[in-house]
Symmetry: C2
């Protein structure tokens, strides 16, 4: 458990962060910087230890979700998916078993709306509050306290979580009272993000195939109707051969996997989501699961014998 010089003027709400990967670590940093009293836990002991070693070694670790949640008013869960969220909340030594009555769980993983609804039911049945609060923006914005957070849940849950949300979000959307709405918005965003980065890669590879100067293509397209947020943001890294993950191929196989599961469950045909998922699966299968998702362009290059700037490690 961490006790790092909390601001004496702040109300004494302890905040637990469960999941200390790049997003959770960044969120914990933002909360500490905002002078909250923060406790961290990760299922991987070495990750928890690395977190504890920060800030001059003054941070202590919890050994279980239950331990980190004991005494916490806000429990931010930043793990990979719905299953992990359920495990740290409701499994053995889960946070819910130890959290004080009235504490709020802020659930940040991308998951199917139905899973968020189910988790909310289970958590609130234990006299806790639940906020469906998927996040967007990447590790750097997490560290800067500048995430986009897509929130739905009860007024009481929102009020209880407000201090933490203030510290981590640059854009905070309140989307409704039903848990599941936040997750639904995230799903729609991830559909577009995934299709757009795959399309950027298909387009840049085709440009190369046509013999064009891809730096010039970037300059023209980003000022034209063919532009997208992902094209503008990620193509510069293709031009530099920079594939250290901003969002890894494995994130897109996971998130587009959720998207197509939801689509199929709803008998909703979705040719573009499906085609984009297949491109990320091929890229992962070709050994680039842990590189940036823009590695789809390297898949095209490999298949079609094109030269794009090589990965600079």
């Amino acid at each position: 458990m961490v006790d790092l010089a909390p601001d004496p003027n702040k109300p004494a709400t302890k905040i637990a962060v469960i999941g200390l990967g790049s997003m959770g670590f960044g969120i914990a940093e933002s909360l500490i910087r905002a002078r909250h009293e923060v406790a961290g836990y990760d299922v991987r002991p070495e990750v928890t230890a690395r977190f504890a070693a920060g800030h001059g070694g003054r941070l202590r670790c919890a050994a279980s979700p239950a331990e980190v949640a004991a005494g916490a008013g806000i429990i931010v869960v930043v793990v990979v998916n719905a299953d992990q969220t359920a495990a740290v909340l409701l499994g053995e030594d889960g946070a819910v078993s130890a959290a004080p009555r009235g504490a709020v769980v802020v659930s940040c993983a991308t998951m199917a709306p139905e899973r968020a609804r189910k988790l909310a039911r289970e958590v609130t049945a234990r006299s806790l509050l639940f906020l469906d609060a998927p996040i967007s923006g990447g590790a750097q914005r997490a560290r800067e306290g500048a995430l986009t957070v897509l929130v739905s849940g009860s007024e009481a849950a929102f009020t209880a979580a407000a201090q933490a949300l203030d510290a981590i979000a640059a854009k905070l959307y309140r989307l409704g009272c039903e848990p599941s709405i936040g997750s639904s918005f995230k799903i729609v965003n991830q559909l577009l993000v995934g299709v757009h980065i795959a399309a950027a890669c298909e387009a840049i590879a085709l440009a190369k195939q046509l013999g064009l100067d891809i730096a010039k293509v970037y300059e023209v397209i980003k000022a034209s109707a063919g532009n997208s947020w992902m094209f503008k943001n990620r193509v510069p890294h293709i031009l530099e051969g920079g594939y250290s993950p901003r969002s890894a191929t494995s994130i897109f196989t996971k998130d587009l996997g959720i998207v197509v599961d939801i689509e199929r469950a709803g008998t909703f045909p979705a040719p573009l989501s499906s085609a984009a998922l297949q491109l990320f699966l091929m890229t992962a299968a070709a050994g680039m699961a842990h590189d940036d998702g823009a590695s789809v362009v390297r898949l095209f290059a490999r298949i079609a014998g094109l030269e794009v700037p090589a990965h600079k490690v």
Copy 2:
């Protein structure tokens, strides 16, 4: 032929516009507003007549591409595709047969780079200049003289066409000396434009399927990583039920048709271009070829039994 009070201070370059659909009509208007001496021709006599009726009936029409090109220093060709461009330039009574030696042909249709290269060879063999100059921006920007023009061709051709380009372009990209480069850039842009509008429709339809408020989805996504130029520009029309074509479904079946033809000819696999083309073909087959390309969302709605705002005619 049109003789509309040309500016006596301008060098006396007559400009012919061949193809007076919404783009060509707008280009002619921009040239007239810039006080050039403009002559117009369209293969459809009623379209030529409608053009001639403008400006107080002072405009006269040409009866053939040859007639409109006689005496013109710049010949702007704004027809639908490569075949039409070849026909008005090189067919019976074609412009090339009558254009003065040294006149420049400005070719604006979207076409395969190889077709632009072939046209350039044929036109320059007749002692004329050729500029590969596809345009982007839609009918309104054409009228405003605010198009994006993607130009490639010889220095001499560019210099000869400069007066016309100044009057019609807000953004003018000089992309190289080889005709075909301008067309290649346009193809890459059209791949992205087509995929992005189809993806916007798939995402908005999924949002509706998930029970979300699609106006709110628009607000959140346009400020998020899922945004694209097309999403931001076209989704408002979906929200209003406005499907009068800014760019018709038939434009996307044509342009993505060229994209996938090029890809297949180059043995270049392209799952997203292909999936997007199929969506536009389905939408056209369902009777919406001449409505805006965002009608893909109405296709999804019809298939999945969703309510989106109906087409307000």
